[in-house]
Amino acid sequence: MKVQVLYFAWLRERIGRGREIVETEAATVAELVAELRAREERYDLAFSDMTAIRCAVDQALAPVETPLEGVREVAFFPPMTGG
């Protein structure tokens, strides 16, 4: 399946792009992260400390255990600093 993947803040800078379409068979967000890390070193480095990364599934905060079935958009970013 095809999933739109978005990166924000320093994660976007380290990976070098803000969004991409990923073709994946991952069952969960965590498996998607593992696939991305296996792909290229910049992904591996960007995702090396998952405690510093938050995740949104279809624009709502979600844990990495979230199933990918039927999901259109997954986003990764550091803890938020608005306000």
């Binding site: 320093w10 803890p79 608005g82 306000g83």
Partner: protein
């Protein structure tokens, strides 16, 4: 029955007019109290050149609306407004505001404080500060995450 609270969420590069936003909220006949919070880029000893605010279009509006709706469920509000800027700001610029309206002050104060606490840690904004020494993403404060606990006791 009371009228439903009016919720207004704006995410834009443009500045806002606190007086006009508050007057808008006051318009309801049953509003006795309006509390506002305005956040502003501090001029930290002259070192900061500019601040760039990134956000997640789509999710941002959704998250802010949900936070405002949750505040309206917890307190009897007549209205709630959140206006958050993104893009490039300089010291002295306003970053964002929230405003809450209610019959009495207690609900308006609590709801405004709640909106700020949730917005800080649950709305997808990221700040990057640029000084003459370079640019750095602002780290989340542990105190901001901890501040959420008091609303879930």
């Amino acid at each position: 029955m009371a009228e439903p609270a009016s919720i207004r969420v704006v995410v834009t590069e443009a500045d806002f007019d606190l007086g006009a936003e508050t007057a808008h909220l006051e318009a309801g006949g049953d509003t006795g109290a309006v509390v506002t919070f305005t956040g502003r880029v501090r001029d930290t000893g002259g070192a900061l050149r500019r601040m760039v605010i990134e956000h997640y279009p789509g999710m941002t509006e959704r998250a802010l609306t949900e936070i405002a709706e949750e505040a309206c469920r917890r307190w009897q509000l007549t209205g709630a407004t959140i206006h958050h800027r993104h893009g490039t700001l300089v010291p002295g610029d306003r970053i964002m505001m929230v405003a809450t309206a209610s019959r009495h002050r207690e609900a308006a104060f609590a709801a405004a404080s709640f909106l700020m606490d949730y917005l800080k840690s649950r709305a997808p904004f990221w700040k990057k500060e640029e000084t003459e020494d370079g640019a750095e993403w602002v780290a989340a404060r542990e105190a901001d995450e901890a501040a959420l606990d008091r609303w879930n006791a």
